[in-house]
């Protein structure tokens, strides 16, 4: 009797322990399964990202490439492949798609996708940059410098201190010193990029010069342009032309005149001052000289405004050293100095001139100086107060015949990666 009871008890415990052992085995299997599945998913995803990067490298070597290719990878981490294809989308967009195929142990083949979408927009305006140079010279961005708007240089950007870049800063070379090292403590509100493709300056300002002879105005002497806001009505500003600083008015242009296309140029030096009411680009094959404040009738930083001025020089744009400019100078315009600089005349010998308050954008071949400092104390010239005119973010909003450039590389506008929703059982 006792023996039978013992036997039943032992069998009972055996069954219970067997059940527990089976459960433990199942838990162990599922735990390994979970880990493996997560690992496989990650591998498949990484494979798709690798495919996207390989595809991007191929695409940027030849942006006309269309088609697809497949590459297989094998190694200790498992075997898989990715297929990359490049197609055109509607509008000005292109798509590069990478699809991975990752062989798993027992779970079949996993696929992940990465889509990279490009903007093929061709022409951009230089006015989209708050600051752009071909060459920065040996001038440093320092603490207390703040730039609103995009910054780009085809050369190296030198930093000493903690300047703030409110929009993306790019350079075709590098930052000197590298970001986050040495004296470079710059703050990038929208990030930065180094080694980007150079943005080539035009070889001349012929587009503007040609426009001046077909609906604009072209002079072959040195001229002094005084801008007048006209009445309080919108867009009825005028430009008065003189051929001597205190000479008589030799020409008058109504900016609202539909037969005037907005291009006003001279083959020699052009002097400018006044209030802009309308849209106008003033250009010179020589230098553009700012003689006094240049402001918009409607200040865009105080409300809506459609006034817009471009100052385009084949050489330099210079803030004159005169009485009017030696107690602050306000400039509301897009400045383009094709082969020279935006600079202040006698910046290192003129008196301390207060603030140079600019609203617009500055594009120049070589960074020019507007003042001289001893430590943080200004000893001559201007302190900079530059603000970007955010209306210029839209490349279609630019002064008439303002220089543009062609994008050599397609810009990545969007990047999407597939992902899985919970796989637990």
């Amino acid at each position: 009797m006792v023996g039978r009871a013992s036997l039943i008890m032992v069998m009972g415990f055996g069954i219970i322990l067997g059940y527990i052992a089976w459960n433990l085995n199942d838990y162990a299997t599922r735990a390994v399964g979970n880990m493996s599945t997560y690992h496989y998913s990650t591998q498949s995803h990484n494979l798709a990202v690798a495919g996207a990067n390989v595809g991007l490298a191929k695409f940027y070597q030849d942006t006309s490439w269309l088609g697809s290719f497949t590459q297989t990878l094998s190694g200790n981490q498992g075997t898989g492949s990715f297929t990359v294809s490049r197609t055109n989308l509607s509008g000005d967009h292109a798509l590069l798609r990478s699809v991975s195929s990752y062989n798993t142990w027992g779970s079949g083949v996993l696929h992940d996708t990465v889509d990279v979408i490009f903007d093929k927009t061709r022409q951009q305006s230089f006015s989209m940059f708050a600051w752009m140079t071909n060459f920065e010279g040996n001038v440093f961005w320092i603490t207390a410098d703040t730039v609103w708007g995009r910054v780009h240089s085809n050369g190296a950007l030198h930093v000493n201190g903690r300047p703030v870049f409110m929009e993306k800063a790019t350079t075709s070379k590098s930052f000197d010193p590298k970001v986050g090292t040495g004296t470079n403590k710059a703050i990038f509100k929208q990030g930065y990029e180094t080694g980007v493709a150079e943005i080539q300056f035009p070889n001349d300002i012929s587009e503007l010069m040609n426009a001046s002879t077909s609906g604009g105005r072209k002079y072959t002497s040195e001229i002094w342009v005084t801008l007048s806001p006209g009445t309080s009505a919108d867009g009825d500003g005028k430009a008065y032309i003189r051929t001597a600083v205190a000479g008589p008015i030799v020409d008058s242009i109504s900016l609202g005149d539909v037969s005037f296309n907005g291009a006003l140029v001279s083959t020699l030096r052009v002097h400018v001052k006044g209030t802009v009411d309308g849209r106008l680009t003033i250009g010179s094959q020589n230098n553009v000289v700012i003689e006094d404040d240049i402001v918009y009738e409607q200040n865009p930083s105080a409300g809506s405004s459609n006034d817009l001025l471009g100052l385009v020089s084949n050489q330099n744009v210079i803030v004159a050293n005169n009485t009017a400019n030696n107690s602050n100078c306000t400039i509301q315009a897009c400045i383009f100095a094709r082969s020279g600089s935006f600079t202040a005349e006698n910046y290192n010998t003129r008196p301390v001139s207060g603030e140079l308050r600019l609203l617009g954008s500055i594009v120049q071949d070589e960074r020019g100086a507007v003042g001289q400092f001893s430590g943080s104390t200004i000893t001559s010239g201007f302190s900079k107060r530059y603000r970007y005119d955010t209306r210029l973010n839209d490349p279609s909003f630019r002064p008439p015949f303002y220089p543009g450039y062609y994008v050599k590389t397609f810009a990545i506008t969007n990047w999407w990666e597939s992902y899985r929703v919970a796989f637990t059982r």
Partner: protein
Amino acid sequence: MIVLGANDIAAETQTVYSGDMLVQEMLTGTVQILEGEFRNMGYGLGQLQSTVLYADSGRISFLSDLGRDGGVIDTITYSVGDTTELHDTQNEMDRYLFRRINNEPVLRVGVVTVFRLTYYTQPGELLTTPIPADRRSEIYSVEVTIEVQNPYAPYRRAEMVQTGERTALYSSSLWQQTRLASQNLRR
């Protein structure tokens, strides 16, 4: 006695294994969707649009075109609740992880004991949370730390519990994705 002892140990082991299993499944389930949505943060936005609307150590709101329909931009919010919202479980540290899309009802997407977000700029500077509006555009990568613990666990005998220790054997699993960055933040 030996058999009873073995049975006791086996039962406890099973409970612990079961807890480990549950914790692992909760974690992987939560992580996959979060990881995917963070990677696509900012998808479909214009170059000048701000991606991150709010960023704190336990809450983030950002924009992304979830449906990829080329027009409707969604607002996605992840936030962690308070431990008092989860009285039902034995574990006093667990809390809900919430996910909300636009103005739709808030969804509970997981139960966690730690959900911590830290934010870095492109040069690698750690941003102090909550991040003020004028610095949100500097966010370049997000470090996500999630810990999940078993909601239930076998109690420990009183004589085994040292000062400062918890009274039950909670399984836990930690997941940390360092520098989780959306390519859309790098444009």
